[in-house]
């Protein structure tokens, strides 16, 4: 079986007895290897909580999350860091590059903390840079790059370790439409070429339309799920919009 990620009845509660908030309410789904899954939902729907639980930054209240068969809700302490460093790659909305490091150093740090040797690091970073078309910014600092370049560097950092799962949190949130398209095409390409499994949280239908499957979340519950199948991206986009409309059209600024 090719199941990378499996969520079983995941619940996450906030607050105390009086004002209990169910951020996640019995969420179950699974992601197969090589899938590009989008998760859509409005603000407060629980999608960021979901991402935090999968990335072990937050802890579930109940239920289980399996990663390549291992129950990650049972991992504790330093093993959590080990798990994140070896199995996950992160792409954040605001890039989160380290501003004192060049693009090259930012990407290589993901490998160096795994103890990969210097020669190997150079080789792999070079290859990844070529794929993402960021070779000419490798020696630049984040403040010298455009938003799109920064996000592609961040994507390179996330993917360089060949993680089991890449978690992208609103990766296009801080980009203009051209840079967004460029980044999404890159992610699509990486998904195809490297068989990278990507889980992307977004509230932007356009971004979501690059995924092969989109899961909709509302009030902490899975609302529906659609697959791209053999549709073109445009057709898939229209389907997404339909669901958004069904959701009440208030996926704030869905377009």
């Amino acid at each position: 079986m090719n199941e990378i990620l499996k969520l079983e009845e995941v619940e996450k509660y906030y607050g105390g007895k009086i004002n209990l908030t169910k951020a996640l309410d019995k969420v179950s789904f699974s992601v197969d290897k090589g899938e590009f899954v989008g998760i859509m939902g409005s603000s407060g729907s629980g999608k960021t909580t979901l991402l935090n639980c999968i990335s072990t930054i937050d802890r579930v209240t109940a239920g289980h999350i399996f990663m390549e068969g291992e129950d990650i809700t049972n991992i504790r302490g330093n093993n959590l860091n080990k798990f994140r460093r070896e199995k996950l790659g992160f792409i954040f909305q605001d890039f989160n590059l380290l501003d004192t490091l060049t693009a090259l150093e930012n990407i290589s740090i993901a490998l160096s903390i795994q103890g990969v040797n210097a020669g190997e690091i150079e080789k792999r970073v070079k290859a990844m840079a070529a794929k993402l078309d960021i070779e000419d910014v490798m020696n630049k600092y984040p403040y010298q790059m455009s938003g799109g370049q920064k996000q592609r560097v961040a994507a390179a950092r996330a993917l360089i370790t060949s993680p089991a799962l890449v978690l992208a949190d609103e990766p296009t949130g801080a980009l203009d439409s051209k840079a967004s398209r460029h980044l999404l095409e890159s992610m699509e390409m990486l998904n195809w070429d490297l068989q990278a499994t990507i889980l992307m949280v977004t509230h932007d239908a356009f971004s979501a339309s690059y995924a092969s499957r989109v899961i909709f979340i509302k009030d902490g519950k899975i609302f529906s799920e659609i697959r791209k199948g053999n549709d073109s991206r445009k057709q898939f986009f229209d389907k997404i919009i339909e669901v958004v409309t069904m959701l009440g059209g208030n996926l704030n600024d869905a377009l």
Binding site: N78, R85, F90, F92, T100, L101, S108, V116, A118
Partner: protein
């Protein structure tokens, strides 16, 4: 009332950020009190008059220094508090958004400062009072005071003075802080949380050039003040080297981070290991953004090390000198200003004043002759120092000297009939003399030629002194007809009578009374107006007291200034490090998200902090290796004894205080970058 509550909560909440500030205030207050309370130490109360005079002088010196110290501390406190204010802008923005008037916000600041002020003053003064009891022991040790009558003392005048100075400082702090908040506009306060991504990376080629230039500047300055010190003729020459050192220091700080990054980047195996690249770049960025303060701190530390070591060394060497140069109880000598004056003979003086010779267990009377042409210049005529040293030599006969040596408890000297021995211990002169003696330079004395008995001068003096200031006395065989020569050529010779004695066993009171009686003889002859001749009386007690007083002034002033500079430097570093940690919170959060272990993060932080603290200290230590030698060279009248101990002792103190600041800072910044704090 609400404002009070707010102010109180603010302090309680941000106690971690304030810890370094608090510690510095308390230390500053304690040090200020201790050094201003010295005159009222119980140990001082048991001292006799001559010592009290010295302590009066010491108190005067320290109170002048206190004014300077107050300026330094005042600057530090204003700096530290404005630094903390900068990090609270967001908080003030929220107050303003909630509709609090600037007047109320100012009131919060005033209440906070008063609150901090009261606590720090109370704790600081308590600490100071306790520490000053320890100081009593140091003082008693220095002045050999009677510690049996030790009692707990509190100096009210020092407390008042401390309160006064620090209240003024807190007043200035309030004015500055209120001014800063008052002129700030809301939009700026709100946006203050967003940090512009500043990058201080510098052109690597330029860094290498500047670094090499800094090394050259420092290297030549080091050379000039040590090995090349002979060529330094004036304060101005020395000043040029000091300026070179200062410029070199700043240049080094400007370029060191760039150099470090280049070197680290060259070693790929090191650079791409764990968080090394991150640590190196972060540290580089921090050093680059603190070039000025880094340089200043380095110079402060350098100054601290030099002042502490030199003052301790002066004290140690003074003690050694005393043991070697004040070996008899009392010494009197008469001398004339010029060759054509005849000095009074000591015999006459003793007789005329009916001095009871039975009170001396042992005494010697001897003549020191001065002959025109028997001088340092003559001895050095064949050396390169020919024109660098002018001084007439005193000449005494071997038997006279041996008698004196007996009283001093020294070894007697002997030589052949055509030989002389040179006694000198003035460090400027001895090396030069040794060169001439090694060459076997002969001297013509009373028409006869003498050659040196030894190839070095004996490091001894004839007159008792608190310093090693004998620049040349010749011991010649008894066969040398000095008396005859003086009779024949009275116009080119002069004679000094020296009377040296030890008292018989007597009580301390009688001893002091005799000292005073004999000392008064010299005053009597000065007021007697007996031409251009003088009587000088030195007692062992006086020499010890004067020199201990001198040592005390050096040690106290040195350690006072040293401590204040040290805590200033350490506090500035600590504050920079802490603000840096809170600025970098997000970076560490990212590192955690991508799976970096806590251990790795802490190690990186430790490395960065250690180097950030270590760089200025390291350069300061290198500076000091050369600076201390120069300091000792300048103070060379006091000889070079005990320097190693002094350096070790001051290094210990400096490291201790520095380490305390470092550990507190590291612990606090670790706490600041910890997860879930915000």
């Amino acid at each position: 009332m609400m404002l009070f509550k707010l102010a109180f909560r603010n302090i309680k909440k941000s106690i971690k950020d304030y810890l370094v500030y608090f510690a510095t205030l308390i230390l500053g207050i304690a040090i200020f009190y201790v050094f201003n309370a010295i005159d009222s130490q119980s140990a001082m109360l048991t001292l006799k008059d001559t010592k009290l005079e010295i302590i009066g002088l010491l108190t005067d010196v320290l109170s002048v220094v206190s004014v300077f110290v107050a300026f330094v501390l005042g600057f530090l406190i204003v700096y530290a508090s404005s630094f903390l204010m900068k990090h609270r802008k967001k908080e003030f923005a929220i107050y303003m958004l909630l509709g609090m008037s600037k007047r109320s916000i100012s009131a919060v600041i005033v209440i906070e400062t008063i609150f901090v002020g009261i606590i720090s003053l109370v704790v600081g003064l308590m600490l100071g009072v306790i520490a000053s009891q320890g100081m009593s022991i140091v003082v008693a040790n220095l002045f050999e005071a009677d510690m049996t009558r030790f009692q707990f003392t509190i100096s009210s005048s020092a407390i008042v003075k401390t309160l006064l100075y620090f209240l003024v400082m807190y007043g200035i702090v309030i004015v500055c802080d209120v001014f800063v908040v008052g002129k700030e506009r809301l939009i700026n306060l709100i946006n203050s949380g967003k940090r512009s991504e500043k990058n201080y990376a510098k052109n690597p080629v330029l860094c290498v050039i500047v670094f090499i230039a800094a090394c050259v500047l420092l290297g030549t300055a080091y050379y000039s003040v040590t090995a090349g010190a002979e060529d330094l003729h004036s304060i101005r020459d020395l000043g040029i080297q000091v300026v070179k050192g200062i410029i070199g220091t700043f240049m080094a700080f400007w370029s060191v981070a760039g150099m470090m990054i280049i070197l680290a980047g060259k070693n790929k195996r090191f650079y791409f290991k764990g968080l090394n690249a991150f640590s190196v770049k972060e540290l580089g960025n921090r050093v680059n953004s603190n070039v000025f303060s880094g340089g200043i701190i380095c110079l402060l530390l350098f100054f601290t090390i030099c002042v502490l070591s030199c003052s301790m060394s002066v004290r140690n060497s003074l003690n050694n000198v005393l043991r070697k140069n004040a070996q008899a109880d009392v010494q009197m000598y008469s001398f004339a200003d010029d060759f054509d004056e005849t000095s009074l003979s000591i015999d006459e003086i003793l007789e005329n004043n009916n001095v009871d010779m039975m009170k001396f267990s042992d005494y010697s009377k001897l003549h020191v002759f001065g002959l025109a042409g028997v001088s340092a210049q003559e001895l050095l005529k064949a050396t390169e120092y020919r024109d660098s040293y002018y001084s007439d030599f005193g000449i005494i006969k071997q038997s006279d000297y041996n008698e004196l040596a007996r009283i001093y408890g020294r070894d007697e000297v002997g030589m052949a009939d055509d030989e002389y021995i040179l006694l000198a211990n003035y460090s400027f002169a001895v090396d030069k003399y040794d060169l001439a003696l090694k060459n076997g330079t002969t001297l013509d004395i009373c028409g006869k030629t003498y050659k040196p008995a030894y190839n070095k001068c004996k490091r001894l003096s004839v007159l008792m002194s608190a310093a090693e200031d004998n620049d040349g006395i010749l011991v010649v065989p008894d066969t040398c007809d000095l008396e005859g020569y003086v009779k024949t050529y009275p116009e080119s010779a002069r004679v000094i009578d020296i009377f040296t004695a030890n008292y018989v066993d007597m009580s301390r009171e009688e001893h002091d009374a005799w000292d005073e009686y004999l000392a008064n003889l010299s005053i009597k002859y000065i007021s007697d107006d007996s031409g251009d001749t003088y009587i000088a009386v030195n007692t062992k007690t006086d020499i010890y007291d004067a020199s201990v007083g001198l040592a005390a002034i050096f040690v106290f002033t040195g350690s006072y200034l040293g401590m204040v500079f040290l805590i200033s430097a350490a506090a500035i570093l600590a504050l920079k490090e802490l603000s840096n940690a809170s600025d970098n919170y997000d970076k560490y959060a990212v590192l955690r998200k991508i799976g970096v272990d806590e251990k790795m993060i802490n190690r990186s932080l430790l490395g960065q902090s250690a180097l950030f603290f270590g760089l200025p200290l390291g350069l300061a230590v290198i500076h000091s290796i050369f600076g201390i030698q120069t300091g000792i060279f300048i103070l060379s009248v006091f000889s070079r004894g005990g320097l190693t101990n002094a350096i070790l002792f001051s290094a210990g103190i400096i490291l201790l205080i520095y380490l305390i600041y470092f550990s507190v800072t590291y612990a606090c910044s670790k706490e600041i970058i910890k997860e879930n704090r915000r």
